[in-house]
Symmetry: C2
DNA sequence: AGCTTGTTTCGATATCTGTTAAGACAGACC
DNA sequence: GGTCTGTCTTAACAGATATCGAAACAAGCT
């Protein structure tokens, strides 16, 4: 078993033990808020957009970098970007002719905090 | 800053640097597969069901434990459980009169693996 | 003005959420 | 065996929401 595999197993065990999602039932309010994030990521095009933006040089990508990747029209890409934006996962900024999108770090942090155990169980020493 | 907060920040920084989602663009196939998981979790009722099952004593809960929590009819709960089941997030088993559901650990592992950096970046020494 | 980039609006189609009604399954009771 | 009762799922359906494209609009160059 590689180091990476071992780490993932340890991580999963800890998740199964102590992550917020597993430790106690989510409140209705928490669930509504969190489900908005998951729902936005619940579409393959949006997941790829998110990944394309996040992995792009400089941590940002303009729409022109994204449109060509899919066999979808401009308005459709724009629609998906809007969903991601309204979920708080990305933010967009116009600079001259182009609109640049980048990841909103707080959103990923919140997701991680739900799926991953807290420091008491699996944090660094 | 508490240990837990510090851990979350370190985690997020690492996520922003090296998690699979951020390191390189997801392939279309990866995106389709992953989006199924996120989509299943993209509903507040299903998210709470998942959390209720995971946090229940013994790691499993019968449908009768879940139905009372929501102001929804039985068939609706059954439908949401089916969505979670078909996404591979939970598995159900009938024992006598009752049907018990439990978390499928592999699914949470996959989600963690996407959002959380691998061992090379943040694993244990 | 003309061109490029991106968003918004609107409409068609498809999927999702929830309900009622009916079916499947296990135990209790006669 | 037969028939209740309780638990859960499936089937059929209505209403809401989502996905996508064509057309129209907005914003910034040259």
């Amino acid at each position: 078993m590689s180091n990476q595999e071992r780490f993932l197993v340890e991580l999963t065990d800890a998740v199964g033990c102590c992550s917020p999602l597993v430790r106690e039932p989510l409140s209705a309010e928490q669930a509504v808020e969190l489900s908005r994030l998951f729902k936005a990521m619940g579409d393959p095009v949006r997941l790829r957009l998110l990944s394309l933006i996040a992995s792009h040089d400089g941590g940002e990508a303009c729409v022109c970098d994204l449109s060509g990747v899919f066999e979808l029209t401009g308005p459709t890409i724009s629609h998906h970007l809007r969903v991601l934006r309204e979920a708080g996962l990305i933010s967009g900024e116009r600079r001259g002719t182009w609109v640049y999108y980048r990841i909103e770090p707080g959103a990923l942090r919140r997701l991680s905090a739900v799926l991953v155990p807290d420091v008491a169980a699996a944090g660094p020493a």
